[in-house]
Amino acid sequence: MKRNSAYIKGAFIAIALCFGLLAGFGQNNAHAFSNQVVQVGATGEDVVELQSRLQYLGFYTGNIDGVFGWRTYWALRNFQYEFGLPIDGLAGGTTKNKLAKASKYDKAWVNKQIDKGKKFSYYGGEKKSAKSGEAKGGSAKSGTPKAGTAKGTKGTGQAKAKPAQVKPAKNTPDGYSQNDVNLMANAVYGESRGEPYIGQVAVAAVIINRVNSASFPNTVSGVIFEPGAFTAVADGQIYLTPNKQAKKAVMDALNGWDPTGEAEYYFNPDTATSGWIWTRPQIKKIGKHIFCN
């Protein structure tokens, strides 16, 4: 029994060693990326790596933010052009292999900076002609932890290198900011937290319809805080912390889903105090609310 467990232990260590080796190699070859194809609009670790590697080679000068935006797109296309790859702006297998061979990437260090939200200077070496295809700037060997790499190379003469920032970013629906999303989530949660999901999307859609309407203010905050417009604002329920579902509903509405058929009003027939609201042309009932024009 005892011998058996020792054997298992040994096997584990061997496996662990193998993984360690693999991980060591992984630092500097294509296995570093996951095997997914990365395209415009994507977010996540693959994008962080893509941006870091492109920045290392001098193609990408923006922030390493983990969002595949247009600047990353053009940087990638330039890379594909210089390296004789088909120019499609997609980071697929071949592109990632080429990129991994040409550049260095210290995942642990970059992630640490992102977690801290810290500023750090230009990642990798100086801006250089990408044609050489080899990174001379980075000095540290693969596999060794090198918290100093980027900082160290910073000093080694990079005339054009602008300070870049590692700062996580997020996609937001066109024309709206994260703050708008949060404010709307608060309003939706305060107004309709007992409602089915579709009822919450509907409330968010009404807010957007009002923003677009001639008879209401033209901003999200203007519509929400218009005195008397929403009971949740009047009684302070808007300041409750919204849950994930409310936010999801807001995102759906901002991305164009409108279950209400362009409604601008809604009311709860059980609690509505104003007689006037009953005179509005009614469209449909979702959950407890009646939506009207």
């Binding site: 247009w70 994260q178 001639a214 209401f216 203010p217 279950p259 058929g261 469209i283 009207c292």
Partner: protein, 449 residues
């Protein structure tokens, strides 16, 4: 002894409560006063802006030289938006004040359109001058009513908070001056709602008047709608379906279906048009786990879905990842021309590639089977109208709706200027720059939620 102590304690407690109550009362009054002050400011601002608006419109009528008219109209535009802003701060939502707000919006659009137009080439028509004159008369009346309300409110020391409280408790306030005043204002505008703002302003209304009557096919029944839904999702029999019809005042006649699938514990919501049974939107609600597939794979799923459910050829125009959800929009491709008004959105779960939603209302409303493309100038000619610093990367043909809501054929140039990426649309008939759209970049996270 003990009795004395008790009495003293009791006395202290009573005094303490009294003091606490008094300070609470003071605080409440302070807060009320603060709110009252905000309302007062908005109300007086509104009056002030209406006064200046009235004067400015009067000046524009008197003006003859074009180079004076444009700035004056721009002023009118600014003032309408200020006044609109003031109205938005007053507790009037449950009062019928919509007409006045609408008047302000229309006035704003009219002045903006006229102000940015090249008045040398394209002067104000007689009709537009008449519109201006009518607007002037209109604003005179609004101004008078508002002033009357303002002075009465001041004389009788009326408080907006009383109006607010009355509205909240649904009681009639003792003095109705403010509410009555605003009702009169709104009535006076109503009489003018037929003012002819010319074609350019009614375009906003044009968008409102779109309907689904052009759809092909005949009216479907509830049972047929259920069958369409079952086929659409290739559902098994155990799914619970509830179906409701939209009210008689709905702009888009539709059936709303809710499908609950006990196997996946997910609920799907969908609206089908009564005419023809086309899906207006689909939303599937379930918990989505951590992303396991890439945005690229999700896009392939979305394209698969579109091929299955749409006859038209669609081309992706945006793709965005929101944590574990991918959202894609597609525009119809018609003989190599991107038809931007005809777009659909598809939402895909990144944990397993399920289609989470589809939105096709815009597509159904804007869809026209046959348009005749007009490309009078060449791409090279169109290029000469671009900003010389703008670096073109891709060119394509497109149909867009311009800012007065007309459909125009354009050359679309995707390119960069500095660090930003733009889509520029050049009218393919006269070379006008129809639209310059800066493409959004991701927004930095300020706090993680």
């Amino acid at each position: 002894m003990i009795r004395t102590i008790l009495i003293v304690l009791l006395f202290v407690a009573v005094a303490g409560t009294g003091y606490w109550g008094y300070s609470e009362h003071q605080e409440k009054n302070a807060v009320l006063l603060q709110a009252e002050n905000n309302y007062q400011r908005a109300f007086h601002d509104l009056n002030f802006h209406m006064d200046s608006l009235h004067d400015k419109i009067g000046e524009t009528i008197a003006m003859n030289t074009r180079n004076q008219l444009s700035p004056a109209l721009a002023q009118v535009w600014r003032l309408t938006s200020e006044a609109h802003n003031d109205v938005g701060q007053l507790p009037l939502t449950l009062l019928p004040f919509n007409k006045t707000e609408e008047f302000l919006t229309k006035m704003g659009e009219f002045s903006y359109r006229a102000a940015v137009r090249d008045l040398d080439k394209n002067p104000l028509s007689d009709k537009e001058y008449n519109t201006l004159k009518e607007l002037y008369a209109n604003s005179t009346e609004i101004q008078n009513e508002l002033r009357k309300t303002e002075s009465l409110a001041q004389k009788n020391n009326l408080r907006w908070m009383d109006v607010e409280m009355a509205l909240a408790t649904n009681k009639q306030p003792e003095d109705n001056t403010i509410i009555d005043g605003f009702k009169t204002v709104d009535k006076s505008v109503e009489g003018y709602s037929d003012v002819d703002f010319g074609t350019e302003v009614s375009n906003m209304e044009k968008m409102k008047d779109r309907d689904l009557s052009q759809l092909k096919g005949k009216k479907i029944t509830k049972e047929e709608a259920k069958k369409i839904a079952v086929d659409f999702f290739q559902l098994k029999k155990n799914v619970k379906i509830t179906i409701e019809s939209t009210g008689k005042d709905a702009k888009y006649d539709a059936y709303s279906l809710t499908l609950y699938n006990p196997d996946t514990k997910g609920t799907t919501y969908m609206d089908l048009t009564k005419k023809g049974g086309y899906p207006l939107y689909v939303l599937y609600d379930r918990n989505v786990g951590k992303p396991k597939i890439s945005l690229n794979e999700a896009m392939l799923q979305a394209e698969d879905f579109l091929k299955k459910h749409m006859e038209s050829q669609m081309e992706m125009v945006t793709s965005d990842q929101y944590d574990n959800i991918g959202v894609f929009t597609y525009a119809r491709l018609d003989n190599g021309v991107r038809i931007y008004p005809e777009t659909v959105s598809v939402k895909v779960a990144l944990d397993n590639g399920d289609i989470m939603g589809y939105e096709g209302t815009d597509f159904l409303l804007a869809h026209v089977d046959k348009r005749t493309p007009t490309f009078k100038i060449s791409e090279q000619e169109a290029r000469t109208n671009l900003n010389p610093k703008f670096q073109v990367k891709e060119t394509s043909k497109a149909l867009i709706r311009n800012d007065i809501n007309e459909e125009v054929y354009c050359y679309e140039f995707l390119g960069i200027l500095g660090d930003d990426t733009f889509r520029v649309f050049i009218n393919a008939e006269n070379g006008n720059e129809e639209e310059v759209r800066k493409l959004k970049e991701a927004e930095p996270s300020y706090n993680d939620i």
